[in-house]
């Protein structure tokens, strides 16, 4: 049973153009770099504005925090969280376990344990529930069966990425700064692709993400069987227009429409094709059409 769609949004401009009727929960921020200009993490006023608008609609706002935080990163986020809580922030997406203790200062906050927490099975998920986690976002390197095992065993909601660009790694160094041999000029705003023969990844500086759009549209019937599950659009790099289109398609399929009718449209939106990640236990960059499923 799906609880609704969630979406990741990195800045106010994108947020402002989203169709607010499509989403139950908004993840505001950007996990991959604290130097990202115009990101909610560097623009507290925009963040507060978005939180207020979300609250007025009776929906949920979460602040996305980075993986592998340095000691100073906590100081940087402290004031931001403080102000966001005052404006009605509902929760925080945690990607570094150090945040679990840190955010106890704000007991009203709910906690989503993000992809980088590396939850691979239900016993681990339950451990994080002991630390106050209320939504489990399992690691993406999991199959349908493994995702179902987790959601079936936990009290929390689960949240599964159904579309977008999956994280393939997070680095200390910025690959784009190195390639341009310059200080940060926000080159990550442009699409940079790492190519080796037929294998592609998108570089966004300190992280690589899938170049192909991860897509589970053809698997919506299976996803509906996962208990208390939000469907997440992980679309930090995409325009509001694309996010709205994708969300509409998933919403329609959530309500019983045939996925196959929308597949071509999604393919048209994806510059580098589609992939299934690890959903079928296969190589992440493959796309397995529903007719060719492998036994996971």
């Amino acid at each position: 049973m799906t609880e609704g769609l969630t979406v990741t949004v990195q800045n106010y401009n994108t947020f402002n153009e989203l169709d607010k009727s499509l989403f139950a929960r908004y993840y505001l921020g950007y996990p991959y770099c604290l130097e990202k200009v115009s990101s909610f993490l560097l623009e507290p006023e925009s963040l507060k504005q978005a939180i207020a608008e979300i609250k007025e609609l009776g929906l949920e706002s979460y602040l996305v925090t980075p993986p592998i935080m340095q000691s100073d990163d906590f100081n940087l986020l402290e004031k931001l969280i403080e102000e966001a809580v005052e404006c009605g922030l509902d929760g925080v997406e945690v990607n570094d376990v150090g945040m679990l203790d840190f955010i106890k200062k704000w007991p009203s906050l709910k906690i989503s344990a993000g992809h980088f927490i590396n939850i691979y099975h239900s016993s681990a998920a339950k451990e994080y529930e002991r630390d106050g986690v209320t939504t489990i976002i399992p690691n993406s390197e999991l199959t349908l069966d493994e995702l179902t095992e987790i959601s079936g065993q936990v009290e929390s909601d689960t949240e599964i990425v159904v579309y977008g660009n999956l994280a393939l790694g997070f680095a200390y160094d910025c690959l784009l700064k190195n390639a341009y041999q310059s200080e940060c000029q926000q080159q990550c705003n442009k699409p940079h692709i790492l190519v080796k023969n037929g294998f592609r990844m998108r570089s966004i500086g300190r992280a690589n993400v899938t170049a192909a759009d991860f897509c589970l549209l053809e698997q919506v019937e299976k996803l509906k069987n996962i208990k208390s599950c939000f469907w997440r659009l992980e679309m930090y790099q995409d325009s509001a227009q694309k996010i709205n289109k994708v969300a509409n398609i998933f919403k329609n399929c959530m309500n019983g429409e045939e996925a196959s009718k929308y597949l071509k449209e999604l393919e048209g939106l994806a510059d580098y094709g589609l992939c299934n990640g690890w959903f079928f236990g296969k190589t992440g960059h493959d796309y397995v059409a529903s007719k060719q499923e492998v036994k996971s």
Binding site: I68, S71, H121, G169, L194, M201, S203, G281, K282
Partner: protein, 313 residues
Amino acid sequence: MLDVELLAPAGSFKAAQYAIEEGADALYLGLSGVSMRPRRAEFDKEELDKTIKLIHSKGKKAYVVANIFPKSYDVDFFKDALEDIYRMEADAIVVSDIWSLRYVKDNFKNIEAHVSIQASVSSDKTAAFYERNGADVIVVSRSMPNLEDIKRIRKAVSCRLEVFAHGGICFMYDGNCYMSSHFEQKIKFDKERNIHRVYGQNNTKGECHLVCKRPFELRENGSTLAKGCLMRRNDQVGLRDLPLYIESGINIFKLEGRAMADNYVKRAVKLYRQAIDTYLNDSAGYTVAEKWLSQAEDLKEYRLEYERKWKIK
């Protein structure tokens, strides 16, 4: 007396013998299927037991690595492995996440739990979280270049701290890289365990395809911006920074190499034993001998040999 320990890799019984002969204080080694390394660099139960006994008979310590992130079908297998390691009287179990850490602390007495390099601990608060949950040793991230950050971690915790002193560095933070399984991953039938499962190649298992060591082309809007091994980072050589690490509160100096040749272990341990002893005997007079740097350079050849086994082009 400073609490400084040289921690050597042991991917084989021979490597363990070499490491002991050359002066390692402790050895880390893995049990088959749970230690983030290819099977050839892990031990089966009988070999592990024999090797731990050898290590103890020479007065050294044995840290057994169980730092995969188990999947649901691995959990019982993983718990059995922890039980086996405990029964073999290892000095420590090295784990990667909070579930494994708490499992070790809740179920086993008189054995240390070390938080693995896979946890990429980079901040005082993250280290404090693990210590509060029972960590006896925390390995700080090998991507952490800043001694100030290490000092802040030192201030935040009282447990021992370990640093990656020598070896290759991945582009991505450890425990947060999914490039390998995106590149290639297979599910096969495991006769031993009677299950279909993923064979290595992902963040959870340790048979990495070394994607970050491979040449790539970086394109922007169809034009080539750069070509080559864009994600390859320089090897860590900790000889120069050894005094700074010790003075920042690092206790354990780990050398990479469970999957490397036995001779690599012999030479690497010998080199770092010499450096640590030089510092301990005369910290103010510590200098890095030219011949040490050339020996460290020679060790790189073993890494390249390892990479060639993966046919990286």
